[in-house]
Amino acid sequence: MTELLRFANVSAGYGPFRALFDVSFDIQPGEAVALLGANGVGKTTIARVATGLLAPSSGTVTFGGTDLTGAAAHRFARAGVAHAPEGRSVFATLSVEENLRLSFRRSKGRAGVDAAVGQAFELFPALGQRHRQIAGTLSGGQQRMLAMARVIVEEPRLLVADELSLGLAPIIVDEVYRNLDRLRQHGCALLIVEQHVGHAVALCDRAVVLDRGRTTWIGPADQASERLVRNLFQTESPMENSPTE
């Protein structure tokens, strides 16, 4: 049992709407895994199940050897799972510093809060300059930085990053991925949900390709984009130079 996160035959959905069927995969400690597939194939659902936001309807989710199937999100967080959800991922009505304090108070204890906040501002001086600014008034890129700062200082065992590049300028996307890489250097495992594969494939070791809520392929990340193309455009002979099946 060396896996950090393990999905075993997980099915999940929203009310009657089933988004995942019998999904199994795992992530080793320190490994980066990309979830790839078109919109609506269940990537975000996997991210939500992996962080406890959504309870699977069947199957088990284990983290670090502990069965967390159906546990509340705060238990995942306490076990070391951090989640950067799709879209807005900071508290828009709290100030920058309060956003950090809220999270560090739990993870670092009363005594460690100030040091942790200091560390975050050291890593991201731009945030330190705006520590009293209400987070909702930050730009999209700055908000993403704030979320990253929180995660980097907390040093989770697994970061689930959902569509981090969505709606960001390319230069900011690069910055985000630099930080993800930094996290990896620190031994944090990554589960990256992306529709745009370029960055993800470059960063990750392995990739899971999804189609209609099922895993269709798991393998080395550098072969993923070709698989994905075939998945998306499988009606005709795919690319001129892609290998035949």
């Binding site: 069927f21 919109n39 194939v41 529709q195 594969v197 209609r212 998306l232 455009f233 009606t235 005709e236």
Partner: protein, 256 residues
Amino acid sequence: MTNVLDTQGVSKKFSGIMAVHDLSISVDAGESVGLIGPNGAGKTTFFNCVLGVLRVNAGVVRLAGDDVTEMPVHARARRGIGRTFQRIELFAESTVREHLLIAERTRRRDGGLWKDLIGRGRPRADEIAKCDEVLELLGLRDVADEPIEHLSLGQGRLVEVGRALMTDPKLLLLDEPTSGLDRQETADLAITLRAVQEHRQFAILLVEHDVEFVSSFTQRSYVLDFGQLIASGPTQDVLRDPQVRAAYLGVEEISS
């Protein structure tokens, strides 16, 4: 001949961000047109602009030549736009046939409080016959009296199609009709839809992620990315376009 649907320069902004920018498309009577593109490309937003769920910031939406830009959803529906929903929307605790009956009654517009009170509000024989005809067409005859809670998702989707058909649509907007369906159900849906379309002669505008479904189903397609039209033309050609593939993968070039 006039187009069933014709949009010109449709734009929609959300808090400063252009979700749909200057989009002009047209759909001819009886043809099937695809609307594809990656996540966040603005397909659903555009759909909602056509349906009247959202008001456009700029541009014109014409249905069979008439300007419907300012009309509410139900008025557009009466002028011939039918639709299905990505996350299935059926009437709770009603049977399959009841779904079609209320659509038929709404289309006829001859019901009302006074008719109800004098006992003439119940479904009439000719209405039931017409509904059963459509149910037959969709292969739902066996489950006609089942409450929709007992159906599979694929059947539920067909009920949505049937309900829309009762309004005699000139144009059917299908919003990701295969979402939630497995391969077999998807294939069945394609066969049924094609058969129904042949029989009833209406145009289809299809938003769909399943490229296979789109390419087997539509003659032409429009491709959106970042709210703008990046390609259009025969579906097979469009899907072969490197620019389209790049948009789907979010990288500059993918032919390795």
